[in-house]
Amino acid sequence: MTHELNARGPAAGSPKTATREAYGKALVELGRARPDVVVLDADLSKSTMTARFAREFPDRFYNVGIAEQNLMGTAAGLALGGLTPFASTFAVFAAGRAYDQVRQSIAYPGLNVKICATHAGITVGADGATHQAIEDIALMRVLPNMTVIVPADDVETEQAVKTAASHEGPVYIRLGRHPVPRVTPEGYEFEVGKATVLRQGDDVALVACGIGVSIALSAAEMLAARGIRAAVLNVSTIKPLDARTIVSAAERCGRVVTIEEHSTIGGLGGAVCELLSERRPVAVRRVGVPDVFGQSGPPDELLRFYGLTPENVVSAVEEMEGR
């Protein structure tokens, strides 16, 4: 699915929206349509944007206080009781603090809990490393039964959240605090397990998720100016991975660069390497947080500091060219 409109990359000056904002909006719409949807938070409802749902549906909102283990356990119990719970907190707490509860109480019994974790990645900004989840994709995708989704923009977030509500079983949706440009094409329809080719190209495949997608689109534009035709894939479902689309892009391009706001270990880059090393070994470079914790700073500055820039993606491609 190619959309020429997006071939220019995210237009400068186009409105940016944080995916957490889109989540808050989608939850309210879900609440109106689905009486079985309940929402839980751990004292961060104003930040995760579940507060909007809480205002409209106070009877279906449970604030557990600062107790993430109990957040996940209670959500699991609500699912056992036949409801469709959405549990929210920051990604670092959802995937880290409550990991055993997610593993034992949600993933193992395959319960219908939707974990919507906001403030993922280094673009949390000034709060620093303790609040910046750079390992959550890795932690969540190793759990059997777990579906892992990283929406790229507001449109995809809304669709992913609504799709998750109708998707039986545990789902982890990774959301951000930092506003991101819209990258999904007009008429886009999210499907679990389906990657989207946002831009066609035969020289290199840029495989990205989340904020990495807009970085990849900008990089593709810069590469085009140098005569390198880059394909751009939005892999919004990390698990199950869309093997067909990724392998086919690797076959066509022969080279792959992954881009994600996550550790280069175990996330999208890791998943793509696992897949391609078995199915279609090609050269791969992983752009992401290089096995270090984050730090305080303005989000855009941190993205530059850790190399999450179109320029760095271009360098990775050129480095492979020189091989």
Partner: protein
Amino acid sequence: MNAERRAAGRGGTGVISDRRAEYLEEKARLIRRRVIEMTAAAGSGHPGGSLSSADIIAALYFHVMRIDPGNPGWEDRDRFVLSKGHAAPALYAALAERGFFDPSELVTLRRTGSRLQGHPDCRKLPGIEASAGSLGQGLSLANGIALAGRLRGKSYRVFVLLGDGECQEGQVWEAAMSAAHWKLGNLAAFVDCNGLQIDGPVEEVMSLKSPAEKFRAFGWNVLEIDGHDARQIVEAVEAAGRAKGVPTVAVAHTVKGRGVSFMENQVDWHGKAPSPEQAERALRELGEGRSLR
């Protein structure tokens, strides 16, 4: 002492008849026999804490709970969450005796491919309401099930069984805080206080001081009972039903390994299976019963 407690609380008449109490004692005895047979057959498992909780599980499954073994997914059924998942043999024995599955399956405990996993798996075995094993998580699950019942206008009740050692897990207290905050009157918890955990007496490993006082401080309706007295167990459930808008916990004083002389109060029997000879001796002590084999 038990008789005095009853007399004080009930004007001299128990909440259940002597015949009913004897019936529940008999069910608990059968569960204990099964625990011995199952763990001996498996060569591993947790007899100590299964034996200590047998009377509570028997009273719930053979007197208290509204359940239908022919329809384990019945929406209005009462729910039981075994938070101390290692007592699974006692729960499996109760479920089989109650007709959820054929008792002949009990000897498959802990075998590859068995529905009777070392710790309960709600996806495998009918009648298991929640998977458990990693301690401290069951009360949160029970809270969620109770909240769902209230939101959906269901009249079912939720029961949960914790261990005293398990109460060292912080999540128990997160959940205890929540149950009272949410006024979960449809929830009743039992704490099987057998006083022992893997590394020794709870009091020595990490003293809880008084679990009753802790639950009371969080706003629960708290009872202290003899966890081997069917009358007191049933009375606690009745008292929980009368306490509106507040969760009830019965801090149940029990003996680890109860019913088998050489296992009683012996920490080694927390997680060790009896040898065939030991099992034979234990079964003789527990009295007549149809063998599984």
